[in-house]
């Protein structure tokens, strides 16, 4: 069992937890992820690592309620435990293996969208600890959903916050913020974009045009996370890659996002049904327009 030592609701339906997982905390690197399972009957849920404390043997995870399983997770309190906590999985971010002096000369731009701010944080923090300054854009729907602003500010070179509705920071999507930054005279050698697939898709469309190399972190459906099942396969260029062992980070300009987004919908109907069953019991028989039960 993997004990929960701290729980914080960062924003509406976005939670942060510190979880005791000694082996994961000892081995993990920025860019990697974990799989958690709440109980005997739960799903294996892949989650990005937001932070780690090697001494304390803890991992910080951040997640948003998107279905029945994450709703179950959100009900866990300090002192409760996950039945299973597996990792670190996937490959570390490329820069971890790069020469630090060369890395210091690179101008890096991180683009974080929504809950995607969580996996960006340990990358920027790692760079900061190795003396590399990276600029960060955090995009959020509105002021209330913005997370980890203070934490990011402490480790980022320049931090730019933009909200879709203009309720805080700059006004507009992250793509607008990227264009604005470039128009303001900033130049970058590398972009790293992590967030919802639709955001990563549009960032990549833009940066391709701007000839700015872009790395994205993919979060497709997964089961085992160790290469065994192939559920997470993606088309990258003309190759098929498994996000769990070949990724999760890939050259964003080579990803077939439309296909990846379609594949993400695979169990949406089932998940919607499970979620409604959880909140409404057996009384729900479709017709709500959300669960797909009436299709």
């Amino acid at each position: 069992m993997y004990k929960i030592l701290n729980v914080k609701e960062l924003a509406d339906s976005i939670f942060l937890m510190d979880v005791e997982a000694k082996r994961v905390a000892k081995a993990c690197q920025p860019g990697q992820f974990v799989i958690v399972k709440t109980d005997e009957k739960g799903e294996r849920i892949p989650l990005t690592i937001c932070d780690y404390d090697r001494e304390a043997g803890t991992i910080t995870i951040v997640f948003q309620i998107v279905g029945a399983s994450t709703k179950k997770m959100a009900a866990l309190k300090v002192g409760d435990a996950f039945r299973d906590f597996i990792g670190p999985l996937g490959k570390a971010s490329e820069f971890v293996h790069e020469d630090i002096s060369l890395l210091k000369q690179k101008r890096l731009l991180f683009v974080a969208g929504g809950v995607g701010t969580a996996p960006v944080y340990p990358q920027v923090k790692w760079l900061h600890e190795h003396g590399v300054q990276a600029d960060v854009i955090i995009g959020s729907k509105n002021k209330d959903l913005l997370i980890l602003e203070k934490e990011m500010e402490a480790v980022a070179g320049n931090l730019y916050v933009t909200t879709d509705d203009g309720s805080y920071g700059r006004h507009g999507m992250v793509t607008k913020a990227i264009e604005d930054l470039l128009n303001e005279g900033n130049t970058y050698d590398q972009c790293i974009a992590i967030g919802p697939m639709i955001m990563m898709k549009f960032v990549c469309l833009l940066t391709k045009k701007l000839k700015l190399p872009t790395i994205v972190s993919m979060n497709p459906i997964m089961v085992d996370g160790t290469g065994m099942c192939g559920a997470c396969r993606l088309s990258v260029g003309d190759e098929v890659k498994f996000a769990c062992v070949d990724g999760p980070e890939f050259d964003g300009h080579l990803i077939d996002f439309d296909q990846a987004m379609k594949r993400q919908q695979l169990y949406k109907t089932d998940e919607g049904r499970a979620m409604l069953k959880l909140s409404e019991g057996d009384s729900h028989h479709g017709g709500c327009g959300q669960c797909g039960g009436d299709q």
């Binding site: 009957k41 799903e43 990792g87 089961v223 160790t226 290469g227 065994m228 099942c229 088309s235 098929v240």
Partner: protein, 463 residues
């Protein structure tokens, strides 16, 4: 006399009934049936059946005990050589191993060795016969990677010799392919697999789940930081293969590994488990091995009309005869000498069918099997909403790429000495699918057993 030439028939769930449930197909012998089947054994002095068994169980000796009604003694005879008799009695390809060599098989049917082994193992479980841990403990630690058939066997054998053994399992349940791969209707998870794992634990073996070697820690760290004196790698088969045909990324195309893992490990077939599975209406399973049969029979039980699509003919089907027979009985349709060329996709990105060509068999290829050749102009479509690819696996690089000095062959399988499991790295042994590529449970057990002997010899010599 005629009866003596035939096996005592084994009771099975009716095909129509079992096609809708996940209960075990074969019900096994009762005491009376087992004794009367055992009486068919000629107790050959030069018993050929033993040579057909990868773990060399003294088959005539255990059958003699069954004949006398000494089931506990029979269990002890099997226990000397096999850690997983209830599993092997169910999933071994006996027809090509022990039973294939049985003298009785020349003029009639061979003795039903597999069903007798299963009977003895189930009897021992029901009568709470427990394995006895080693009396003398050794002060050497061995790490076993993977808790599938190879790992469990190796760990059990080493524990019996007195070593302190820890198994590291990547998934959240121990058992490897016995848990994620082989379905309940062939191998019950609670009654059989969990019990066999418990037996290995009772020998003193510790199992740590959720540890992915190569990620959570490495083999080198196990040796240098955690003080293990030797390591056995039984990490199993790897990444599922796909065909590389158009439409394979569509929604509704799964690897057999994924489909079976969702159903077996995650128990998606039970309503109160959270993991979803696509219950197709019409399902095509591509491939002809045991895994393909398992996937097809699972889809059938989930309510689908199910087809097997295989490019060679029935004779070349790599699956066990019994599995093919069961699949047909349950109503699975076989499209033999048929090869998919494209998966047809609707505008929403979901599978709507599979385009195939008919094949004919030409000259034998490198594998010795006749090479299938496309018949021109034979294209046709099968309407399906789900396609399951069961084409085998390629090795997982997680361990080989993170272990200093561990040699692999050109297929990326770990190179290990067949006789003792030794790899190119001192103190590191390997066996099972990680070495051979996808094979059978019993071959993996044989390799685990050989490696346990190899590790024992290595640790006895080194001080």
């Amino acid at each position: 006399m005629a009866r003596r030439m035939e096996k005592v028939p084994v009771r099975e769930q009716d095909a129509k009934v079992r096609a809708t449930n996940f209960e075990e197909v074969c019900l096994g012998y009762n005491e009376e049936e087992a004794v009367s089947e055992a009486e068919r054994c000629l107790n050959c002095k030069n018993a050929k059946c033993i040579t057909g068994c990868p773990v060399l169980i003294d088959i005539p000796a255990f059958i003699s005990e069954v004949k006398e009604g000494n089931f506990e003694k029979a269990a002890a005879v099997i226990g000397k050589d096999s850690a997983l008799p209830a599993v092997c009695g169910r999933v071994c390809p006996q027809e090509s191993q022990c039973e294939g060599k049985c003298i009785m098989g020349i003029k009639g049917e061979p003795v039903s060795i597999g069903k007798l082994e299963r009977f003895v193992a189930d009897w021992a479980r029901d009568n709470h016969i427990e394995p006895i841990p080693a009396k003398e403990k050794k002060d050497k630690k061995v790490a076993v990677i993977g808790s599938g058939p190879a790992g469990l066997t190796c760990a059990g054998d080493l524990a019996k010799r007195g070593y302190a053994v820890t198994i590291f399992e990547a998934l959240h349940e121990p058992g490897g392919v016995l848990v994620y791969g082989i379905p309940d209707f062939r191998l019950p998870k609670e009654a059989v697999v969990a019990h066999e794992v418990e037996n290995v634990k009772k020998l003193g073996v510790e199992i740590e789940t959720n540890v992915v070697i190569g990620k959570s820690t490495t083999i080198d760290e196990l040796i240098t930081e955690e003080g293990f004196d030797a390591v056995f790698i039984g990490s199993g088969a790897g990444l599922p293969k796909f065909m590389g045909i158009p439409g394979e990324q569509a929604n509704g195309v799964f690897s057999a590994n994924e489909y079976l893992t969702r159903n077996n490990l995650m128990k998606a077939f039970l309503d109160d488990y959270d993991t979803p599975i696509q219950r197709g209406k019409k399902v095509a399973v591509v491939g002809g091995g045991n895994v393909a049969m398992d996937a097809a029979r699972t889809a059938l039980r989930l309510g689908a009309e199910t087809y097997i699509v295989y490019r060679r003919s029935e004779t070349e089907l790599p699956a066990r005869v019994e599995e093919v027979h069961h699949a047909k009985e349950e109503g699975i349709e076989f499209h033999l000498l048929t090869n998919p060329t494209e998966i047809l996709v609707n505008e929403d990105g979901w599978v709507r069918g599979i385009k195939c060509v008919k094949m004919e068999l030409g000259e034998p290829d490198e594998s010795g099997r006749r090479r299938p050749i496309v018949i021109p102009g034979s294209e046709y479509e099968i309407e399906v909403d789900t396609v399951i690819m069961s084409l085998g696996t390629s090795p997982n690089p997680l361990i080989s790429s993170t272990t200093e000095g561990l040699a692999v062959n050109r297929w990326q399988c770990i190179i290990a000495d067949e006789a003792n499991g030794a790899t190119s790295k001192e103190g590191v042994y390997a066996g099972g699918d990680a070495v051979t590529g996808a094979a059978t449970v019993i071959l993996a057990m044989g390799a685990g057993k050989a490696a346990a002997a190899g590790i024992d010899e290595y640790l006895s010599c080194s001080n």
